[in-house]
Assembly symmetry: C2
Homo-oligomer: 370 residues x 2
C-alpha cells in the first residue's frame, strides 16, 4: 500500500500523463456548461426537451428505436437483463467471467434481481460461438462486452459476432451489448455503431470512457423495452429530478471526441509498440483493436516500481499510476488512449521508453543462471 502510494505520488507529480483525456476535475463539467444558457430548463424526472433530444439523438446514432439516459451503466445493464429475463420467464443470463456485472457490481444482479449468471469462456479469452452453442442450460439473454475490457480490450472477429447473433436470434436468446467502449471499436471493425447494434436486441453505451464525460450511460433498444427500462430506472432510484449535469456533458464530449476514435486507435497501436519493444514487456492484445490495451511485465512489482518512478522523474512522463500483481513474477496495468497522448512531447516519450528498456534489461542480468 505504501509502496503503491509512492508510485501513485510520482505519477501525480509528472507534467504529462500518457493515458486518458487529462485529469478528471471540475473543469470538465464547467467547460461543458459554459455554452449552456443559465435559463435552460432542467429535465424533470426523465422528461423535458433537453433529455429527450439527447435520447433521440443517441437512439438514431445506435440505430435503435428508442434510448433512455441512465446515471450509470451498472444500473442500465442490470435492468436490461431483468427485462429480458422477465419477458422470457427464465432467470438466467450468460456472460464472460470477467464481465463488469460479475466483478465490479457487488453481485447486484443476483442480490437485487435474483438472476443467475452462467459464465461463458475462460477468464483469459473471448466468448466463442462454440461456447454459446454448447450451453446446456436455457438462458434469457447473452451479454457480450465489446471490447472485453478485463483482458486488454480484445474483440472477436466480426464474422464470429454475426454468427453468435444469428444463433441467438434463431434460438430466441436475447442479445445485450455491453458497449461501454463501443465508440472506441468502430475504427477497427470499420462499421457504424448502428451496424454493430443491429446484431443486438439492446445496447448500453458509456460517456465517460473514450468520450470523457462526467458520468452517465444510454440504454437503447425497442420502444417497449426502453419504456419498461424507465420503470426499473425509477425502482432503482435512478430517475433523478435532474440528470442534466450528466447528459449535457455527455453530449458535449460526444460531439468533441466521437470523430477522434480513429486517431486514438492508431495512437494506441503506436503506444503499444513502444511497450512491446521493452524487455519482459508485452501488451494484450499485442496490437490493440481499440484505444485500450493492457501492459504485462514479467517482473515482480517491487523491482518494477523503482524503475517506473525513476522514469517519471527523469522524463516528466507518467505511464501508469499503479502496477497490479498478476502473480509474484508478473505485473500489469491498463492504458486507454485519449486526448493526452497527442500532447506528450515525443522526444521525452522516446527517452522514457529507452530508460525503461535499459532498466528492465539490467533486471535480466540480475537473474541467476540456475
Amino acid at each position: 500500500m505504501n509502496e503503491n502510494k509512492t508510485l501513485l505520488n510520482a505519477f501525480k507529480q509528472t507534467a504529462y500523463q500518457a493515458g486518458g483525456h487529462g485529469k478528471r476535475n471540475a473543469g470538465i463539467l464547467k467547460q461543458a456548461l459554459s455554452e449552456v444558457d443559465a435559463q435552460a430548463e432542467s429535465d424533470m424526472y426523465g422528461s423535458g426537451k433537453s433529455i429527450e433530444d439527447f435520447q433521440e439523438k443517441m437512439a438514431k446514432y445506435l440505430g435503435k428505436e428508442s434510448a433512455v439516459f441512465f446515471p450509470s451503466g451498472t444500473m442500465a445493464q442490470q435492468i436490461a437483463l431483468r427485462i429480458w429475463c422477465d419477458k422470457k420467464g427464465i432467470k438466467k443470463v450468460a456472460y464472460h467471467p470477467l464481465s463488469h456485472l460479475e466483478i465490479h457490481e457487488e453481485d447486484g444482479l443476483k442480490e437485487l434481481h435474483g438472476i443467475q449468471p452462467i459464465l461463458l469462456a475462460d477468464k483469459d479469452r473471448l466468448i466463442s460461438l462454440e461456447d454459446v452453442v454448447s450451453l446446456n442450460e436455457d438462458i434469457a439473454c447473452l451479454l457480450l462486452e465489446l471490447p472485453q475490457r478485463e483482458i486488454g480490450g480484445q474483440l472477436p472477429d466480426y464474422k464470429t459476432l454475426e454468427a453468435i447473433s444469428a444463433y441467438c436470434r434463431d434460438k430466441g436468446i436475447k442479445l445485450q451489448l455491453d458497449g461501454a467502449r463501443l465508440f472506441e471499436i468502430l475504427p477497427y471493425y470499420k462499421k457504424t455503431a448502428a451496424e454493430i447494434c443491429e446484431l443486438f436486441d439492446s445496447v448500453y453505451v458509456s460517456f465517460y470512457k473514450g468520450i470523457g464525460g462526467v458520468a452517465g450511460a444510454i440504454l437503447a433498444g425497442g420502444k417497449e423495452f426502453t419504456e419498461e427500462s424507465k420503470i426499473w430506472k425509477r425502482r432503482h432510484g435512478g430517475d433523478l429530478i435532474s440528470l442534466y449535469p450528466y447528459f449535457i456533458s455527455s453530449d458535449y464530449y460526444f460531439e468533441k471526441r466521437i470523430h477522434k476514435m480513429e486517431q486514438y486507435y492508431q495512437e494506441a497501436k503506436e503506444f503499444a509498440a513502444l511497450f512491446n519493444g521493452c524487455e519482459f514487456t508485452s501488451t494484450k492484445p499485442l496490437e490493440p483493436v481499440s484505444n485500450m490495451f493492457h501492459v504485462h511485465i514479467a517482473q515482480p512489482k517491487k523491482k518494477l516500481e523503482p524503475i517506473f518512478i525513476e522514469t517519471y522523474e527523469e522524463t516528466g512522463i507518467g505511464l501508469t499510476s499503479y502496477l497490479k500483481e498478476l502473480n509474484e513474477n508478473e505485473c500489469y496495468f491498463e492504458l486507454s488512449v485519449g486526448d493526452a497522448y497527442a500532447d506528450l512531447p515525443k522526444d521525452e516519450l522516446g527517452k522514457a521508453f529507452q530508460l525503461l528498456d535499459t532498466r528492465l534489461k539490467e533486471l535480466k542480468e540480475e537473474i541467476p543462471l540456475t
Copy 2:
C-alpha cells in the same frame, strides 16, 4: 390534459411564481460551480476528499456517526430498509400508506428487495403511537416521514415522536427517518436536526426540496450501517464515478438556505392564511408546521381553472401550475415556500387573493339551493 396545459401555460407566463426557489434551470448548477476551482479533483466512486468532507459535515449536522451521499432518496431509503431487514431477518417494514416508497417508486422495495410493507394509519392522518403498538406482525423497521408530505406536511407532536421512538427501541424495531424535508421542520419543533435524528437509527435527507439543490441525498447512521449502504449503492448502480455535480451544489445551497428555514416557515403561515381567507378554500394543515402546505378548494376543476388563469393574467402572480382533482367537487395543490415568496410584490399578491375570493364567492351564488 389540454385544460391542464392551459393552466400550466398561464402559470409559466407569470412574472412571479409563488412557490419554491424560482425556476429549476441550468443556472442553479452554474452558480454552485462558479466558486469551484476548475482544477478541483473529481470524487472517484465515492472516494476523495470533497465527497468525504461533505459526508462528514452532514454526519455531524445530523448527529450521526457516519453519512453517505446518494444520487437519490429513493435509492437511499430502499437500501436503509433492506439493511435493517437483513439484520433482523424479517422482510417486513411499516410505513404510511402515502409514503414515497408506496406511491412514487413503482414498487421498487418489493420488486428489487422483496420487502413487504405494512401500511400504518389511514391515508388522511398521521401514524400514531397506537398504530405502532397495535401492529400484530413482526417488522424489522418502521419508517416515519417528517413532515408527512402527501397530507400537506403534517407533523406529530414531539412527545408522540419520542414515545414511538422509545417503543421501537424497546421492541427492537429499527426506526428510519424519511427526512426529505427535515431541515424545513426544525423551526416548528424548535429542535436541532441532531436532536430529532437521535430518536432514529438511520435518516435520509434531501437537497432539492427546501435546500433547492440540483439532486442528491444523504443517508446517515452508524458506521456499520453506512458502510453496508455503500455496497448496496454500488449494487443499485448509484456508485457513480463522479457525483460532484450533485454534492457540490447540495453543499452550496445548504450553506445558502439552511438558515432561512425559520423565514420560510413564517412565510408559509402567512401565505396559508391568505388562502384560508378565500371562499371554499382551506389549507392542510390549517396552520403550516413547515414551509409547505396543501390548498384544498371545494369546487370542480373546470370551474377553478378559468379563475386561476384570470388571476395570473391580472396580477402576474402564479400560485400553482396544476389543480389535482380529489373528487369531482374538490381540487387541491401543494405549495412549498422558498426564496420566491419574499420576492412577490405584496400589493399584487393582495390583489390576486382579492380577485380569487371574489370569483369563488361568485361560484357560491351559482349553486342551486336544492
